[in-house]
Symmetry: C2
Subunit: 266 residues, 2 copies
């Protein structure tokens, strides 16, 4: 972790401040490229151990990069100034497994027994893909990445279970091979794809109807390539039905001061 | 390079002796797994520099692992006992670009101006694939790997030009992703695939009719995955038309004492 005040870390701090003041409420894909973004799950302490185990058993979908102390809304290992009650562009509030509202901050919902989980996000490798001339279509088309619920079961843990959610980026086969190599370097950002080609094989029936995010163009000669997605826990939370759970809205992530390259292997 | 007399190197020496005495004349795939096998091209000195440049410009198809001195039939950097005039199971003799005969040794054809080129071979990663539970179908079906001439042009050098030859191994998409990761570690054995999926896209019209080697079963749910092949130079030699050129017969390789793992990266 680099905590020196580089130009990149000035940008992450400024973006967090813009998000905190609700000046930025949109998706974060493509913003402050090079800094890691995180999926967020906030649960009461009596659900936290089971969720921690769920992440441990499903490290490709749920690569943990940070966990708070009980009742602590700070995440000093991810950035010194984070206050998770304010620092997401949009929050989803789930009660008994149902998403009941979206909010721009959660100060009024914060409880002293809450634990914050931050999971790596595929946005971390989108920068590396772009640098290799393989800009993801969602970046090119300036939309939120397409996300789909699949029939690929996660490994259950306690009350948490459900299918894996994936992101999709279309590539020509030759570029897909390169994209597999590049994303393999980022295990904390879901790593290599889970599947490519026929969407039906993993239970996706219509690419033009993503379950989260927006559809993107798939051109002639391109095949869809599917990576595990940090929205997967939201399906497990729907099934586990904790009395309260707060997550980021899909595509609207926590901006951290960790560099993508700091958690890359090789 | 490990030159100590390990059990593996006893096996490579014994196999070379069996080949030298014509006790083994068949394909070498799957034999002495762990030891690198090489594609061989032998050319007169006045063609050697252009061919060396061709290899340099096409390192994925033509990964050089050894070049002899002019007139020297030994390759001490690959194994101390190699005599290339005897140590291939089968030779192809090409005159003016045409394959005119196959032979079990070339002692009578050897010239004092000949240069020997040895190129890495995808057999080197077949062992790693098998260890990962991804045994190539050609190994499972005990046949020579399927090879196809494609429409993927090589980069020409002097009189050498032509299309790339590929090997094909079928996998399910999930296994293909793992196979891409594994073979990436072996750049001197052609590394990652060039293509997967639709054969027509790279000019292959019928998978059941390989240009070299034998067809293998492609099961439901599997896609063909294509790697560059060390038979590619034989196409360039057909085009360059040197007065004489001697190569290995496809699938019948030079057994070296270099370990596959010695030339693996990561």
């Amino acid at each position: 972790m680099k905590q020196s005040e580089s130009p990149l870390l000035q940008q992450t701090r400024e973006l967090r401040q813009a998000i905190r003041s609700n000046d930025h409420t949109g998706p974060t894909s493509g913003l402050v490229t090079g800094a890691m973004q995180g999926n967020v799950v906030i649960l009461p302490a009596d659900w936290a151990n089971e969720f921690l185990l769920f992440c441990q058993k499903n490290p490709v979908s749920c690569p943990l990069i940070g966990v708070s102390e009980i009742g602590d809304y700070r995440l000093p290992e991810l950035a010194t100034d984070i206050d998770i009650r304010h620092d997401l562009p949009e929050y989803y509030v789930h009660r008994n497994g149902e998403m009941v509202e979206s909010r721009s901050d959660i100060a009024n919902l914060w409880q002293d027994d809450m634990v914050v989980f931050v999971l790596g996000c595929s946005f971390s490798f989108e920068h590396a893909l772009s640098q290799a001339g393989l800009a993801p279509r969602n970046i090119e088309e300036n939309v939120n990445v397409s996300m789909y619920e699949t029939n690929i079961a996660t490994t259950p843990a306690g009350r948490f279970f459900g299918n894996t959610v994936v992101t999709m980026r279309p590539y020509k086969p030759k570029d897909a091979i390169r994209a597999i190599q590049i994303t393999t370097r980022f295990p904390k950002a879901h790593g290599a794809p889970l599947h490519f080609g026929t969407p039906q094989e993993i239970g996706i029936h219509d690419l033009s109807q993503p379950d989260f995010g927006e559809p993107v163009t798939v051109k002639d000669g391109e095949i869809p390539v599917f990576w595990a997605c940090g929205v997967t826990p939201q399906v497990a939370i729907r099934n586990a039905k904790p009395p309260i759970c707060i997550t980021h809205a899909p595509g609207k992530m926590l901006i951290t001061d960790i560099l993508d390259t700091d958690l890359a292997v090789l």
